[in-house]
C-alpha cells in the first residue's frame, strides 16, 4: 500500500523521467557535435576510425546481452529448467525463421506462436 505523499511521488516520477531523458539525450548530442568536428577535419582520423568501428559493435553487443538476459527465466527456481528449455526451443525455431526469411514481423509472430505451442507440451 502506497504511503508516499502525492507531491513526493510526482517529484520522484519527474526526477526519474528527467534523469532517463538526460542519459539518452546528452551522449547523442555530444556524439553529433563530435561527428561534425570529424567531418570538418578537426579531430584525428585513426582514433575516430577505431571509435567508429567499436560503436558499430555496440548495437549487436547490447542486443545479444538483452536477448541472453530475456532468455534466462525469472520467477521461482522450481520452474527454472522447464522455462529455460521452453525459451531455448522457441528461440531455436525463431532463429531458423529469422535466418531464412529475414523479416522482423514474421519472426516476432513466429516467436509468439512457437512459444505458445511449446508451452502446451512443456
Amino acid at each position: 500500500m502506497i504511503v508516499l505523499a502525492h507531491k513526493q511521488l510526482i517529484l520522484t516520477i519527474l526526477l526519474i523521467g528527467l534523469g532517463t531523458y538526460l542519459m539518452r539525450a546528452v551522449p547523442l548530442l555530444i556524439a553529433i557535435s563530435m561527428g561534425r568536428r570529424e567531418r570538418t577535419g578537426v579531430s584525428g582520423q585513426r582514433g575516430n576510425r577505431i571509435v567508429s568501428t567499436s560503436l558499430s559493435l555496440v548495437g549487436p553487443a547490447i542486443i545479444s546481452a538483452l536477448l541472453a538476459l530475456s532468455l534466462v527465466p525469472a520467477g521461482p527456481a522450481s520452474n527454472f529448467v522447464e522455462h529455460l528449455i521452453r525459451n531455448v526451443i522457441a528461440a531455436a525455431i525463431v532463429c531458423v525463421v529469422a535466418a531464412r526469411w529475414r523479416h522482423v514481423g514474421l519472426t516476432v509472430l513466429t516467436g509468439i506462436v512457437s512459444y505458445w505451442l511449446v508451452s502446451l507440451f512443456l
Binding site: 526519474i16 539525450a25 551522449p27 547523442l28 538483452l66 516476432v108
Partner: protein
C-alpha cells in the same frame, strides 16, 4: 505532391510499418504495468504520468515496487535510474546511423530511445528509407502504444492475460523474438561488404557480451549488467579484430 514530400511520406510510412513488431511486445507489457501500478496504490493519473514521462519498462516496474515498499525518495530515484544507465551507449550509435541529424531533432528523438527502438535502429542495413523522419514515426507509434497499453491496464486490468497464462507468456516472448530477428540475420548472412575480419569482430563482440551479461545477471549486478556487457563486448571484438589484422599482416 513534390518528390521530396513523397519521399518524406514514404519514410514515415516505413517507420510506422517498422514499429508494428515492437507494438506487439509493448502493449501487453504496458497493460501489465498499468494493472500492477494500480494494485500498488498509484492513481490513474500517477500511473499514466509515469509512462508519459519515464517511458522505460524496467525502471517503471522498479519504481512501483519501491514505492509500494515505502523506499526513500533518493533510493527510489537512484535505483530506477541505475536500471536505465545502459541508455548512455545508445546515442553515439544512433549518431553514426544519422550523421546529418540536427540537434533539435536529436533532442526529440532521444526521449523515446528505448532498448527496442535502439535495437531496430542500430541493426538496419543501408535502407534508403532510414532517416530522422522514419525514426520519428517509429517512436511516435511505439510511444503511443506504450501509453495506450498503460491506460488499458489501468482501466481494465490485465485480467484477460491473467486468465490465459500461456498466452501471456507467449506474448511476452515477442521481445526476445524481436532481438533474435535483429541479431541473427547479420550474423548468419552477413552483408556483401563484410570482410572476414568484420564478421569475426562481430561474432566475438556478440559472444562476449552475451556471456558477460549472463554472468553479471547471475551475480546480481542489476542495472549495470547490460551497460558493462555493452562496453566489454565491443572492446573485446575490436581487440580481436586488431589481432586478426596484425596476424594477417605478418
Amino acid at each position: 505532391m513534390t518528390p521530396s514530400q513523397s519521399a518524406n511520406r514514404e519514410s514515415s510510412f516505413a517507420g510506422v510499418r517498422a514499429s508494428l513488431p515492437l507494438v506487439l511486445g509493448y502493449v501487453p507489457a504496458a497493460m501489465a504495468f498499468g494493472a500492477a501500478s494500480r494494485q500498488a496504490g498509484l492513481s490513474v493519473g500517477e500511473t499514466v504520468l509515469t509512462s508519459l514521462v519515464i517511458y522505460a519498462g524496467a525502471s517503471q516496474f522498479a519504481l512501483i515496487g519501491l514505492v509500494a515498499a515505502s523506499a526513500p525518495l533518493a533510493a527510489t530515484v537512484s535505483t530506477s535510474l541505475l536500471l536505465n544507465v545502459r541508455h548512455v551507449l545508445y546515442g553515439p550509435t544512433v549518431a553514426t546511423r544519422l550523421p546529418k541529424l540536427r540537434r533539435p531533432t536529436a533532442a526529440v528523438l532521444a526521449f523515446a530511445l528505448t532498448d527496442e527502438v535502439f535495437a531496430l535502429t542500430s541493426m538496419l542495413g543501408k535502407d534508403r528509407s532510414f532517416s530522422a523522419r522514419w525514426m520519428l514515426a517509429l517512436e511516435a507509434v511505439t510511444y503511443g502504444s506504450w501509453l495506450g497499453g498503460t491506460f488499458i491496464g489501468v482501466v481494465a486490468g490485465d485480467q484477460f492475460l491473467t486468465e490465459f497464462p500461456s498466452l501471456r507468456d507467449a506474448v511476452g516472448f515477442a521481445l526476445p523474438a524481436l532481438f533474435i530477428s535483429l541479431i541473427v540475420p547479420p550474423l548468419m548472412v552477413p552483408s556483401r561488404d563484410a570482410t572476414p575480419t568484420t564478421r569475426w569482430r562481430t561474432w566475438v563482440a556478440v559472444a562476449v557480451a552475451s556471456a558477460v551479461g549472463i554472468g553479471l545477471h547471475v551475480a546480481g549486478m542489476g542495472g549495470w549488467t547490460v551497460l558493462i556487457a555493452g562496453v566489454v563486448g565491443p572492446l573485446t571484438g575490436e581487440l580481436a579484430g586488431q589481432f586478426a589484422i596484425s596476424r594477417n599482416a605478418e
